[in-house]
Symmetry: D2
Subunit: 308 residues, 4 copies
């Protein structure tokens, strides 16, 4: 098989301070589709093109941030094999029973050295993207809001990004695509890894607190959609952190913005195609600004400090 | 590993009637980069973003068409394993020595039931895309012509597309992404398969002659680049077969056009992301026109008949 | 004043065979806004950005085509002065009383040598574009259909296009922007004229029947919107005549398509800016195909023959 | 005539500190075409689509800024008539002889109350845009740099913007398109005026120094070209002040950046079409940030203070 093991980022569970306000934001402004609510009050969403039941889950809490980030794997055999590799590396795993998340099978849950909870799962009900599988139209009319194609990746912040990267590479089969170096020219400030030929399926930045979220990213199809997203943010008085601009790293175009609870989100477009035979890019400390924000070639103060 | 076995379409060798005219066309109009010529007179090209030495090779001959289409695989072990799977299915293989193609390692060559010669290889010299791997700029200035990102896929025509598909699926690990049915509602007119999360890495259409090429496709990044490509074709009096338009199948935007020898080529943009847990699309005979040319919803006469 | 006399194309009245079907088409597919109906049953529409009450009017009739095409002029004084110039040229005029068209002032109506009825008027109620005039947002969310910016121009067919052009130039102050020549290298096949710095505000093609409509054109803002328009046409099974493609003449991008009554309409984007000190372009007979459809460089059979 | 009197912004003469560095910047990065140098050492440029000999002139000086901004008028009669209107308003005029600027006829020069030198002229040699006037191709291949379509407008800063606006409106026939108010809700912070159906041909902001330049703007055709421009600026380490983003005022998309002498320039795309029968927009003091930078909805500190 050409795509095996971990397939793609599958779900992110996000903490919000006011659930109604958050649901309204993610529905009307982001244009996600609500697909369900569970007994514990969590609200489930999927993006426009996604076929699986959910990719983004909101949980009411007293502080913002991300509970966990999950990857879909090829099948049950892959789930077992990947759990075995995690255990072989000394990473403890827990099985969360099927149905704990709506329409989602059993999950293998574990903690990475940066303190984040990562999950793997093989089953999530295919509810379709509304176009059907016979003679489908090209897209669905009359969608609202920013309307991203899919949940694309997350950037996480924590202390031991080397340890977390090690697990993603050695147990989960991810590859290094880009890295940014600290002033010493050796230590990674951040790394961008993929499990596919997308430019990144996870990214991590070194930070003195653990289990922090920098952003969850949603994919848009064109730079014109990025402009449209920024316009919609303005119309709804969304706080934009940065953009529209381009990243040097991955070359994607981007807007960073904050949801009503202060979680940073991204709308992202493009990024080159990467294959595991290619050579990773390195960004040196003096050019890391260009790596993050290609046009301004300098970091904005919020990039390294504001996380949830 | 998340991407294993066959990585991507790696090279196509195309026959042209007049080498100088073809080189000029692929250099000035298509904007490919010539990277070398070998003793037998073949001319090698790569696309703008490609890091490997070559992806498109021209050979002078007395009739147009495609000599072979090659896929890069992860490594030598994958090459051996894939050859084993081919042999297990009764597909005879031949080893073409390293160096037969410039800067390219040993190739495993075999014939599929539609008569086409397919190759696998693990090594091709990384010559880079000219941006370097340290603090790279976003793109190279002052490129000429249509300047595609990469060689993307091919569509082949032949009698036994079921047999060819079988080999791509069972030996090479490809997955079915879309299919178009004949009037009987059962037999495939054509199938679109992937070895990645691109919408297609090979496609095949049922036809009464074997070893025929419908087109080799080159990827562009945006719909505006597709317009620009059509403009450049017009300026250079290139014969456009169809487009700019959209395919229903894969949803990509497209132009079909002919090189000076009559080989149909495509500039392609977009197409959705596909993963092996997703459900393939089916196009019924009455809507196959919309599958191929989404806007007109009918085939043009050349689509099913003109091949090289 | 820098813009004086005739300001812009202001309204077109179109005959349709089935009013309900036409209203549904122009509302749901084209995305025009219905702004009123009058006692005689005519239905009035405006486009998304237009501030005046109406720009497109449907009248039920037993054959398709255009009743009249109207231009808004700067003010009542300009209306009188332009009427005087028409009369001085021997063009008879008629005053249609205010209110005959909803929310529209008195109109000066006259016939041009190609048999078309042209109107001038100075008053039409400003109903706004829905954004207001104080701190307006950039655009209105949740619009449906193709949603053009404005009604842009018309292309009319008739015998004596020299005579009609003469009136547009000498009485109405239009300028010649482009012309296409017949085989004799002298006679105009067609001419494109402007009263602004748009590439055209009227166009006319020589044809053996009078008072014929080739198309009314609606402006879109981007090439991506042109793709989106073609997608929407496909979803609604609209008959596309040609496109998406580019015109050589004006350089605009275009789709020609037919409404349910067989009237050809266009969605148009771009076109260069023209000023009256610039030199017009000429297209010779052998290249008129490239003038009309720049990519294919040949006319489709419908272009010269199908009119309503 | 539908376009009479003042046609369009025709030329800007800019002071630069280092001529060679400036020429290199405007040639290689901006992609302007050098069309000549005069005896006094001034260097002349035109933009890609412009047909007149020059639109942008560099003069070496010991401080940056703009010497004068000129408008092309319809013909010699219009020049005389406009000079008459200026004199009638008490604005003194001077005739600069033909040939003082290369390939440019006699100019009527005058000072507006904000201290800026404005010029009118009727003649500048048409050197063409390189496409010819017979069967022209859609655009010129192999251009370099940002390659704007035309010089579009200027934003000037000075004390008495009411007086300057008065002259533009009453003598030159410009119309008010948008205004931004100060905290008192009455006084204009700035006004945007047009002499065509472009959203602006001049803009002025109230400031405590006279004869200051905020920026000269160059038009691009698409938002994708705006991204490309920002990329090229980054590659050449151009200092970007703001963008890519959208203006609320005019709705155009924009990048503000600085030339090597510190003159702010803009690449601009879009903006709605305006006609003199339309109602101007007003931006209140609390929303002026959104008027200038629509996405961030706040001014950056440089906007009101950094001028040359």
């Amino acid at each position: 098989m050409a795509m095996t093991g971990v397939l793609r980022p599958g779900h992110a569970q996000i903490r919000v301070l006011d659930l109604d306000e958050a649901v309204q934001f993610y529905t009307d402004v982001m244009g996600l589709k609500e697909t369900g609510r569970d007994k514990s009050g969590r609200v489930y969403f999927k993006c426009n093109e996604e076929q699986d039941h959910n990719s983004f889950i909101l949980r009411k809490a007293d502080r913002a941030g991300m509970d966990f980030f999950g990857y879909k794997v090829l099948d049950a055999a892959a789930l077992n094999e990947l759990e075995g590799k995690l255990n072989d590396m000394g990473v403890g795993t827990e099985r969360v029973p099927a149905g704990d998340l709506l329409e989602t099978g059993e999950r293998v849950r574990f903690q990475v050295p940066t303190g984040h909870t990562i999950e793997l799962y093989a089953e999530k009900t295919n509810v379709g993207n509304g176009l059907g599988y016979v003679n489908p139209e090209a897209w669905l009319e009359n969608q609202k809001g920013i309307n991203p194609v899919r949940m694309d990746h997350a950037l996480i912040y924590g202390t031991d990004i080397d340890g977390t990267r090690d697990i993603f590479e050695k147990a989960l089969g991810f590859s290094l695509v880009e890295r940014a170096l600290l002033e010493d020219g050796e230590t990674d400030l951040g790394t961008w890894l993929t499990c596919s030929h997308k430019a990144h399926d996870i990214a991590m930045v070194r930070h003195d607190e653990n289990d922090k979220l920098h952003h969850v990213s949603f994919m848009l199809e064109t730079w014109e959609q990025v402009l449209r997203a920024a316009d919609i943010m303005s119309m709804h008085r969304v706080s934009i952190d940065m953009g529209p601009t381009r990243h040097g790293i991955t070359r994607g175009t981007t807007i960073y913005f904050f949801d009503p609870s202060g979680n940073r989100m991204e709308t992202f477009c493009g990024g080159y195609q990467w294959y595991p035979d290619m050579q990773p890019n390195t960004w040196t400390w003096d050019e890391v600004g260009a790596g993050v924000f290609y046009h301004d070639r300098k970091l904005n103060p919020a990039f390294l400090s504001v996380v949830t």
